[in-house]
Symmetry: C2
Subunit: 194 residues, 2 copies
């Protein structure tokens, strides 16, 4: 094969963190707290300030975590939400998390998903989206969130994806601010005009 | 590591096809013809009817091909455009294809990118998008293209990404129709109402 491959794999520190945690996260706040812990530790490990995780919505069982791996793996696609979705689908050996016989799955993300990730959620089969920091929180400190559709939350709902906003919003915003304060790179912030 | 990994790798038949082709594709029509060949062969190999490739825009050198690998690899994220972008970034060891010192890169896709892929293009550093079949061609035979932003082509242009539509559109539409005629699965077509 003359083309390189790409292996999506969580760094070992994610396992270390999770081994100290419960497997069950009953409330959305506990789920968000885990995603924030992942984001905070990703900054320490030279990654972007974003964390996510997929849970069984009813039981609260963690299925797969996600962290932003853009900087570490030279890949603009691997936002935290994409990582959590891809790893969940591998765990379950199915590209559709709404497939017959599955429980409902919930994606928890420290910041509202960007335009790409909103699209990815649509295809994933996720039934519920929970966000910490808002789109405007990310934009206000310089992150580009992409070009989103009008009435994006209503559009997700019309696809049977429920949306819960502002869960631990202040704590999630603080992670973004920490990244900026520590001199983190605002990658993909370029806006050349032709 | 308790979580499964995901390896993005093109199937061997892609190499077989490319070994019979030139490395340089001077015109957008030649570039699209390659993407269509990839899509057609993906159908034969139990994949979705979508192909893509990234080229150096000026020289026409192929950098990386892409095919839709959703069905074969249990992953809703790996549309043809995502695959081509991820593999190109691995080839160049950079998450930003607009990085200093790089030539302009062009993404050629047999069908206009879905909402997720439009977002991914924004982050990739691609300078030029070339499409075959239109959004409405895909929708008219049952594919869901997602919720796209208003004035999506103008928005790409404002980000210094040029857009060329309708390159070999009829041939690209024919691939979609072939897939339907052969009983291909319209995956992710579910629209549950809550």
């Amino acid at each position: 094969m003359r083309f390189k491959t790409y292996t999506l794999q969580l760094p070992p520190w994610v396992d270390d963190i999770l081994s100290e945690q419960d497997q069950i996260y009953p409330t959305v706040e506990e789920r968000m707290a885990l995603a924030i812990t992942l984001a905070t530790n990703n900054i320490k490990n030279n990654g972007g300030p974003f964390g996510a995780a997929v849970f069984e919505r009813e039981s609260g069982r963690l299925v797969a975590p996600g962290i932003n791996l853009v900087l570490q793996t030279n890949c603009s696609v691997v936002h935290a939400e994409i990582v959590a979705i891809m790893l969940t689908q591998q765990q379950l050996a199915n590209f559709d998390l709404s497939a017959e016989g599955f429980p409902d799955y919930e994606l928890v993300s420290t910041t509202e998903p960007c335009a790409m990730c909103l699209g990815a959620i649509t295809w994933s089969g996720i039934s519920s989206l929970v966000c910490g920091a808002r789109d405007e929180d990310a934009r206000s400190i310089g992150f580009d969130e992409g070009d989103k559709p009008e009435n994006r939350f209503a559009k997700l709902k019309s696809r049977a994806i429920s949306v819960t906003l502002d869960v631990l919003r202040d704590e999630a915003k603080a992670v973004l601010q920490q990244y900026i304060d520590e001199g983190g790179i605002i990658y993909n912030g370029r806006m050349k005009i032709i």
